[in-house]
């Protein structure tokens, strides 16, 4: 396929179409709406299902029902809309049916704004709905990755009968880059053996997230954890830049990752041994790989568009071996590469303590810079 100039939201929608999505349920919200808009035109034209629900709560429950039929299904939204979906998401996790969700994150908490943010990290990676479950979470940093990871999300969700998220931000959603779409996959003609599609002439299947007897729920929870262990063992993905001889390693995902890449290149141009580690799966997180890096590098800088949510996962991997610093922008503010470069130059020169809280140190440095007036 030749490269096309594609906007992130449209690219993810068309990638899902090519991956064979059979039904989409959603509700418009900026900065994600072009995704839903594209689906509203493409899916009916292909004889597939597009349904604009009356709310995100309705959309996630429609998704739940459709997923139980074994159909390839998805929804997408932006932060406040994703929050509304959390109850249904937990039911989906408990029922062990595959779904794909795309969250084009925006500034929060609350109604917040429509600017790019990474503030949903904890909600999607560590939290979300109630109960014990772990979704797969993929974080693209370019339009090509947004396409590739959308397709991958369907395959992983079905392979493990689990929830797969693609978390992007307003930048990825609105940006255009040349990218290659995959060829159109034929729609499936066979459905999984567990699917509920009418039981004429056979034993009926039963899908539910209700296990009234705690003994049964414990068995289900154990099974979910067994699946999660397989996912952790097999599906970790990440990308490294200039890591081999790096003394300072910057860690960032998605848009913060590619902004950091610019800063790392500038630092390299000044002769500094700086590298970038960009997690692609935020769940399962590349703990082992970061731990290995912490055995060779001297310092780590975590860069995020939030108040340091992934920072805690990095600290878990580094285990206090080397100093970790943090730099973040919040509430829809996006760092420029110059800001990250300034942090790199500072950290290279300063003695960074092994103990103490990197987030507290960042807040103290950040207080004089933040725009209090407006």
């Amino acid at each position: 396929m030749p490269k096309e100039l594609l906007k992130g939201n449209v690219a993810m929608a068309e990638a899902a179409v090519r991956a064979g999505v059979e039904a989409y349920f959603g509700y418009p919200i900026t900065p994600q709406t072009e995704l839903l808009e594209w689906m509203s035109e493409r899916l009916p034209a292909l004889g597939r299902t597009f349904l604009q629900a009356e709310s995100e709560v309705a959309a996630i429950n429609m998704l739940y029902g459709a997923a139980c039929t074994g159909a390839r299904v998805m929804t997408s939204s932006s932060s406040p809309g994703i929050s509304l979906m959390m109850e249904g998401l937990s039911y989906i996790a408990g029922t062990e049916v595959p779904v794909v969700l795309i969250d084009v994150m925006r500034g929060g908490p609350g109604l917040g704004n429509i600017a790019p943010s990474q503030g949903d990290y904890n909600q999607i990676v560590h939290g979300g709905g109630h109960g014990d479950y772990h979704p797969i979470v993929l974080a693209p940093s370019s339009i090509q990755e947004a396409i590739d990871f959308t397709v991958l999300a369907f395959d992983l969700a079905e392979k493990y009968r689990t929830i797969a998220f693609v978390i992007a931000d307003g930048n990825i959603g609105q940006m255009m880059e040349p990218a290659e779409l995959p060829p159109m996959r034929p729609l499936r003609t066979e459905y999984p053996e567990w699917a509920v599609r009418g039981a004429m002439g056979r034993e009926h299947h039963f899908l539910s997230s209700i296990y009234i007897d705690p003994k049964d729920e414990e068995v289900t929870n154990y099974r979910l954890m067994q699946v999660w262990n397989r996912i952790q063992a097999n599906e970790v993905r990440y990308r490294e830049y200039y890591i081999e001889d790096a003394e300072l390693v910057v860690v960032g995902f998605g848009t913060a990752g590619r902004i950091s890449l610019s800063a790392v290149r500038n630092a390299r141009a000044q002769g500094l041994k700086v590298g970038l580690f960009r997690p692609i799966t935020l769940s399962p997180y590349p703990f082992k790989e970061l731990e290995e890096i912490s055995q060779h590098a001297k310092k780590i800088l975590v860069v995020e568009m939030n108040s340091g949510q992934m920072l805690e996962d990095v600290q878990r991997a580094v285990k206090g071996r080397i100093p970790v610093e943090f730099y973040g922008r919040m509430g829809g503010m996006v760092p420029f590469p110059d800001e990250v470069l300034a942090e790199i130059l500072r950290i290279q020169q300063e003695e960074i303590p092994l103990d103490g809280d990197p987030r507290q140190r960042w807040m103290e440095r950040f207080a004089p810079i933040i725009n209090w007036k407006n």
Binding site: S260, F336, P337
Partner: protein, 182 residues
């Protein structure tokens, strides 16, 4: 090595499209490129801008604080972006809507009456291509031929009737810039 261009003006001046034409031309030339718009709660007549980055390797940040070049199609955009262009960079301003001379002496400035030239060509909406032509005459990141080819290949069918006018607008902008001694 990368080149960053910010194009800014009022909504409706063709700011976003001018950037997309560059992005298409860069893609067709096999370069790496990003195009990113400002997408706040904008309205018609409000400000709009986009950032285009053209490079030979994977592009990091799609946004920069200090671009190599800027096109300012109105006064608020000039006030905002003239101070931000890197020294040695290029600034194109729409002299039809800007009532002051350039302030920077360490960059190359072209103040072009883009509305006036567009109106001479018979369509006020060509002002974005006039300005883009002026920019590319001073910033050799893409050739006019490459831009013309991008217009031929990517202009929506319903706008194909404006193809020749767009090419003329680019040409007129470039000629103006080359005659101007900054």
């Amino acid at each position: 090595m990368q080149t960053e261009i910010i194009i800014a003006g009022f909504g409706g001046q063709g700011v976003l499209f001018a950037g997309q034409v560059m992005a298409y031309a860069a893609m067709d030339a096999g370069r790496e490129v990003t195009w990113i718009p400002s997408y706040g709660p904008e309205m018609r007549g409000g400000t709009a801008n986009c950032t285009v980055i053209i490079a030979d390797e994977e592009i990091g940040s799609p946004l920069v604080l200090n671009p190599r070049a800027a096109i300012a199609l109105n006064l608020p955009s000039l006030e905002k972006y003239e101070p931000l262009v890197v020294p040695g960079g290029v600034l194109v301003a729409n002299a039809s809507l800007v009532n002051r001379p350039p302030l920077r002496t360490d960059i190359e400035s072209v103040f072009i009456p883009a509305n006036g030239i567009a109106e001479e060509l018979g369509n006020r909406r060509l002002l974005n291509m006039v300005a883009l032509g002026a920019l590319l005459a001073k910033l050799p990141v893409l050739s006019l031929d490459e831009i013309n080819k991008a217009l031929e290949d990517h202009l929506p069918e319903r706008h194909k009737k404006y193809l020749e006018l767009n090419k003329q607008a680019l040409q007129r902008g470039a000629e103006f810039a080359l005659q101007t001694v900054a």
